[in-house]
Every structure is written in C-alpha cells, then in structure tokens.
C-alpha cells in the first residue's frame, strides 16, 4: 500500500513536467522542464546527502567534493579521450568512493560541528588544488563540454547532450529515482539500522556488534558515489565546468538544507524539501530578483531561519506525525499494561551442566592517568554458568565490564574467549567481542528512541543475519521470550523502566550470544519485576547461554549465581559459591563496614 502510494507519487512527479505542463503550457515547457531538471538533480543530491547526514547523522558540508569529482571525471574523459560521459560517470563514482574513504578516515573521528568544519576544509583544499593544477583540470578557465569535435556533432544519448529537453528530464528523474531507491534500501537494510543506531548511541551500537566506523564509512561511500553520478550529469547539463561551480560551498550548504527542511533521516524528506524550496527560490528570483538585488537571498535566509525555528524536524518529521494523529488514528500505547511476564520455561527443559571455561580474564589492569580502576583481576566464566559480580558503588564493576567487552583497552592483562569450534581468541574491539559471541547490556538504559521496539531488537538480530526478514523473525521470537510481544510496534521511548531494561536484554539476546554480560538489569525494578527478571535469566542460562551479571539486589544474586566474584576498589577481594561469599568477612566488611564484619565473625 505504502509502496504503491510512493510509486504513484513518483510517477506523478515525472508526469508533471513531462506530459502535464507541455499539455497545459506548451510555450513555457522549456523553462518548466529546466526547473524540474534542477529539482530532480538537487533532490537526488539531497537524498544522497541524507544517507550520510540524516541516517548516519554526520553533517557534511563538503558534499560538492563528490559532485565536482563526478563533473570533472565526465568532462575530462570526454575532452581528453573522447569517452562518453556514461563511462566518465562510473569512473567518477569510483574516484569519489576512493576520495570519500580517504577523507572519512580523519573526519569521521570528529563529531558534530567539527566534522562539518573538517568537510568544509577538505572542500576548500580540493577547490584550491583544482584551480592551482590548471594543466590537469583546466583551472579556473574551466572546461566547456565539447559539442563539436571536428565535424562530428557529439549529441544524443551517448553524449548526454540533447536538442530535446525531455531527455534531460528523463536522466535527471532517473538519478533521483536511483538515489531514492538506494536511500530506501539502505534505510530498510541492516546498514540502515546500524547507521541509526550509531547516530543515536554509538556505544550501545558497538555492543550489538556494529563496527561504527565501518558503517559510517559505508554511508559516506554510498553517498559519495551517488553524488558523483549526479555531478557528471549536471556538469554536462551546465555545459561548462569550473572549480567555483563544481566545488561550491554554497551549493553544499543548499543540498544539506533541502534535506533538513524536508526531514532529516527520513527517506522521502529530501525530495519534499527540494520540491518545496526550489520552486519558491525560482519564483522569488523571478519576482524579486530583478526588482531589488539581494532581496531574494534575504527572503531565502529568513525562510530558512523560520523553518528551523518552527519545524526543526522538517516537513516530513513535523507534518507526518500530525497527519497520522489526524487521520491515521494510531492510539497511544499504554506501555505498562502490555508487558507480559516472560514466557515460562518449557516443562522438562533441563539445565545443562556447567562445563569448560568459556571466557577468561587474566591479570586485568586498567589505569586512568594515576587512578587504578582495575587492579590485577582474573576471572573465569564456565560454560552454562551464571557468574555474579558484586561490590560496593564505585568498586570498578562497570570498568571491568567495559574491559570484558572491548569498550576499554586494558592497560595490561588480557581477555580471551573460546569460540564454538574450540579455538580461543582475544578480541580488542566491541565488535570483535560481539563477533566472538559476547553480548552486553548497559547500566543506563537508553533505547534507540528513533526506532520501534521491534526495530531495537532487530538491531541485535542483525548481528547474525543480513536479511531484514530473518531479523524480524528473530526479534519476534526474542520478544516472546522476554515478554515484549505486545509492545513490538510501540516507540521505544514510550517504555517504562522495566520495559526498557527488558528491551536492553532482548537486544543482547537477539544477537544469539554465547556469553551475556548483564549490567544491573534489576536496578530500579519493583519486587515483582525482580522476580520475573530472575526467572528470565534462569531461562537464558538454561538455553545454553553463559551469563556474567553485575547486580546490586543481593537476594537475586545469591539466588541466581553459581559463582560470585567480589570487587572492591578495583581489586578482586573474594570469590566462590554464594554460600561462601555470604560468610566471607572481607565481603561483609567491604559492604557494611568493619564492625559488622567482626560482629558476624
């Protein structure tokens, strides 16, 4: 239904300049078709930008680097080697991807405005170099697109040059459709989920096995290739290429602005934004430009400020929900009501016996400057076991978890994990640990608020599969296990604390881990919820997953754990079975103070 609507909309968008306007206003069609070529070209670029700027949240203001590369590739191969621009376009896209990777390497380490500034710096450098190396690029004198070579007239489909304006329209529309399709595919694929996850909460994304830099790089490359293709076509269409036009900062800002006005991170937003702003700008130029030089720019700037102030989510982000509320009739989900208890264990399911070591940490040390947060800690997790980690606040439990999941590199010592095939590995990054079968939750739960509960769980599921269909199936399965089935379509932000904690566990479980690290999943829960959580963890254990749990709720730890380690001031002060730990004076002292230890003794 939605797809049909979207295709219908696209068809209408194409029909408007191609058949409708020529039918109504045959005289003006040349002009209108140009306007629509402009709209399609900018919409395609805005869509491409949105993959990086919207989905991945990396505000690039240097997108015209790739537009220029495409333009120059097409024109230079045409000029020097007589190659058709279609070929030049492909070469340009390849070069653009290479340049994107090169630029991304330093830039992607930066955040927010710094990323934006560094892309501007790259754009300026490339523009200046294109001007300086004029023997190669033609410099500021520019490259006219050749139409005659000797007596041969290079027009027609091969050369992308036409007498018939409609053909430009077809290509420009094709580019927009391509950008839109790629954008849609990305958004609905594993990559899209990962990008949104990285944008919203990079650490949690890394915990589900996302290679944050890798996916941002992929977004950068896809966006660059698409933009380059547009650049090739538009360069030919403009008939003349020069560094000022092709590597233009104002154009880069404009493209980002279209996406922003339409709705950042939505699939169709960039097209709506372009569709709204380009005609307004053209009209403003037509009506105001000749009358008062600069007036249209003034209006443009003020409109931008106005849109940003009144609709920070853009057209799609602001009007879409309103339309849904008004006409869609989606009722608000009462989240507390819909959480079910976790599915009970199937009768007859036996707990597998505790087996060989699965994860070993040896002599872990972590120093922050002069502060020793973890001091010579060694622990071992056996297959099928629940290992409880306890200790007072600030004892260094979470630091230990970060060491065990690759979020912090140890100052010395190491962690190794046994794979399913028996080989031992020592990963050194979060996604390395995830690949080795280690999943974790975070103490402070913050679901990815831009995604539904189902999509949140799918993020974990994507660790094991590339297929969105498969991930969806796993998500539903896991949701049933943790009791979130009724809330699958709710927005993650609407969950209660208990629900959010379960979601956190569900996302980790969806990764099908062999080791699960749980960071205080019971903190803040009411006694009934705690009881359910204990049951849930037992079920997880019984399904063959080994668990390390940091927990404050003593009763629960004692009930759950097969083995307990106690951490205080970064060092391991005791370990053993729960019954022993409960009697250990050092533990009692650490928790309750010295007097109690003596009293107990």
């Amino acid at each position: 239904m939605r797809v049909a609507l979207a295709l219908g909309g696209l068809a209408a968008l194409f029909a408007l300049p191609f058949w409708l306007i020529p039918a109504i206003d045959p005289e003006g069609s040349g002009f209108w078709q140009h306007i629509f070529v402009t709209i399609f070209v900018f919409a395609a670029m805005a869509c491409a930008w949105n993959i990086l700027g919207g989905f991945a949240g990396q505000l690039s203001l240097g997108q015209t680097i790739f537009y220029g590369i495409g333009g120059y590739a097409g024109a230079m191969l045409n000029q020097h080697f007589g190659l058709i621009p279609w070929f030049g376009g492909i070469v340009g896209a390849a070069v653009a991807v290479a340049v994107a990777v090169f630029i991304a390497w330093p830039c992607l380490r930066l955040r927010g405005p710094f990323f934006a500034l560094s892309t501007i710096a790259f754009l300026e450098v490339i523009r200046l170099l294109a001007i300086h190396f004029k023997d190669f690029t033609g410099g500021s004198a520019g490259l006219p697109v050749p139409m005659f070579v000797g007596t041969e007239m290079r027009i027609g489909w091969a050369w992308m040059l036409f007498r018939e304006k409609e053909n430009y329209l077809i290509i420009a529309f094709g580019l927009m459709a391509l950008a839109l399709a790629v954008s849609w595919l990305v958004r609905n694929s594993r990559l899209g989920f990962y990008l949104v996850a990285v944008r919203e909460r990079e650490d949690a994304a890394r915990a589900v096995g996302v290679n944050a830099t890798g996916v941002k790089l992929a977004a950068f490359a896809i966006s660059a290739a698409l933009t380059s293709l547009v650049g090739t076509f538009h360069g030919i269409y403009l008939n003349f290429i020069d560094p000022e036009t092709m590597f233009s900062l104002p154009t880069a800002i404009q493209v980002a602005m279209f996406a922003l006005i339409g709705g950042l991170g939505t699939v169709t937003g960039p097209i709506w934004g372009t569709l709204l702003v380009v005609p307004i700008a053209e009209a403003a130029r037509g009506w105001l430009g000749a009358a008062a030089n600069g007036l249209h720019g003034l209006v443009y700037g003020l409109v931008l400020v106005g849109v940003v102030l009144t609709m920070p989510k853009g057209l799609v982000g602001s009007i879409g929900p309103w339309l849904k509320r008004r006409f869609g009739g989606v009722a608000e989900v009462d989240s507390a009501a819909r959480i079910q208890p976790p599915a009970p264990a199937a009768p007859g399911e036996e707990r597998p016996p505790v087996g060989e070591p699965l994860l070993e940490a040896r002599n872990l040390v972590k120093k922050f400057g002069g502060l020793v947060a973890t001091s010579d800690v060694s622990i071992t997790l056996r297959e099928g076991e629940v290992l409880g980690v306890i200790g007072p606040n600030g004892a260094g439990k979470t630091t230990l978890f970060n060491l065990l999941s690759g979020f912090l590199p140890p100052s010395s010592g190491g962690v190794r994990v046994r794979l399913a095939d028996g080989a031992w590995v020592s990963p050194n990054s979060p996604h390395g640990f995830a690949a080795a079968g280690v999943a974790r939750t975070f103490q402070i739960v913050q679901p990815f608020t831009g995604l539904s509960v189902r999509e949140n769980i799918m993020l974990g599921a994507f660790h094991g599969t590339r297929s969105a269909v498969e991930a969806r199936r796993i998500a539903e399965e896991v949701a049933a296990t943790v009791g979130l089935t009724g809330l699958l379509d709710a927005e993650a932000r609407s969950l209660t604390v208990g629900g959010a904690k379960r979601l956190e566990v569900a996302r980790a479980l969806a990764m099908k881990p062999r080791v699960l690290l749980l960071d205080e999943v019971m903190a803040g829960l009411n006694p009934a919820d705690v009881q359910q959580a204990v049951e849930l963890i037992k079920r997880v254990r019984d399904s063959g997953v080994s668990v390390i749990a940091i927990e404050h709720v003593m009763a629960a730890v004692m009930a759950l754990s097969d083995h307990i380690v106690v951490i205080n001031s970064g060092r391991l002060i005791a370990e053993g079975p729960p019954s022993e730990i409960a009697r250990n004076p050092a533990v009692i002292e650490a928790y309750l103070g010295e007097e109690y230890a003596h009293a107990a003794a």
Partner: protein, 290 residues
Amino acid sequence: MDILLQLIANGALLGGVFALISIGLTLIFGIVRVVNFAHGEFLMVGLYATWIMASQLGLHPYVAALPLAVVFFFLGALMQRAIIQPLMNADPHIQIFATVGIGTALANGALMLFSADLRSVDLPWARQATDLWGIASVSRGNLVAFFVSFAATGALIAFLNRTHLGRAIRAVAQNRYAAPLMGIDVNRIYAITFGIGTGCVGLAAAVLAPLYPAFPTVGSFFVLTAFVVVVLGGMGSLEGAVIGALIIGLVESLAGYYIAPDLKEVVYFAIFLGILIVRPAGLFGVRGNE
C-alpha cells in the same frame, strides 16, 4: 634574513587581525556550544556600520569602536534569545542551519541596501607605513589592531576570572547541567556570552574598518579562517585563539612567500586537518570538549 623578519612581522600582524575576529567566535563556541556561521556576516555589518558612522557622522572609526561594541552586544544577546535559545537542545545540524540562515539574510540584506560596491573608511593615517627598528615596515592600522586584540583578550580573560559574572560564565562552560544547581540562570549566561562574543566582533569591525573595505561578501573572506583559528587554539580558549591566530597569520605570510600565494590556504587547511586528527580538542582545548 631581512625578508624573513619582514614576513614574520607581517604574519604576526595578520595574526592580530585574525585574533581580533576570532575571540568572539571562540567565546560563543566554547560556552554556548554553538558554531556561529553568521560570525563573518556580523563582521560585515560592523564594517558597514563603521563606514556609515565615519562618512555620515564624521566619527573617527576608533572612537566608534566602543559604542559599536555596545550596540553589537545587545544585537547578539537579542539574537541568542530569539533564535538560538529555542534551539539550544536541538541537534547541532539545526543550530548550524539557523546561523547559516542568519548569515545569508544579512549578506543579501547588505547587497540590497549598499549594492556590491566597496565602501572604504578613509583614514590615511592607518595605512601609513611605520618602521619597526629598521627590521620591518608595517602599517599603523595593523599595529593598532594587533594591540587591541591583545588588550581585548586580556580584558576578557580578566573578566572571566575576576568577576562574579565571569566565573558564572565559566561554570556554565564547565557544566551546563550543574550550574543551575548553584543558582546560575544558564539561559541568561548564554545570552550575555553571545552578546559579549558579538560585541567583540563590533569592536573588531571598527578597528579593522580603516584596513578592509566593506562589501556584502567580506564576511565569507574571514569566517573560514576564523573557524580554523578557533579549532586550532581549542574551542573556548581565548589564549588558544590568539596563539592559533598568530600561527595562521605566520603560516599565511611564510607559505605565501616560500610556497605559493595561491596555495597558502591549502597549507593552513592542511594544518587545520592535521590538528583535528591528532588533537581534536585543539592546542589549548580541554579534552572531551570536542
């Protein structure tokens, strides 16, 4: 040797110009955490304002500096209240586009009012060469700009360290969530800081007016350099901005001579990117601020 000293003198003085323009930007950057893309356009407005005061009212541009700074303070505070404040918790994308919009509107407004012509404040005194101990020849206007940039930076640092308001501003910079607990009205601090930052631009404009003519796009000539300076020095660090400005000034001067004048921007952008990669917080920035 002779030429090297002259180049260093030129570079240092140019650095003074950049510092003057950048201190307001770094203050806003560091405390309000907003990248003001309209900063260059503020400078442009200031240059026009000085030109009007000089040509219509016959005011000496240096005399115009103080009233201009005061007017700009209120303009900046107003802009923060009206446009930036509602967006304080929004995505950085949104804030950037708000300031881009303001910049576009200002540049085109100037084009409408004054056309694309150059408007130059006539102060031949400022353009006369002064001999510096026989090693370099520099213009008086540039010397004034140089010393004003140092004086302004010193005054701002003293203000931030010695006064109650200044300490409140620093508290907000350090922790915008904890500051309200100490009874600080964070939003008021933002407005004041934005005002001070903009006031610095007003001051800069008046001091630079005898050196640089006003035209609608003059802001874009300076703004990228100012960003480079601010990032180089470290976001929010006034000392850093001055030192970053001196470095960029020297790089411009030396690279323009020893490499090629049309590649000097390439050189300092390369330095800028290098710094961002190696030390994202800048030379004097606090880690974690990036």
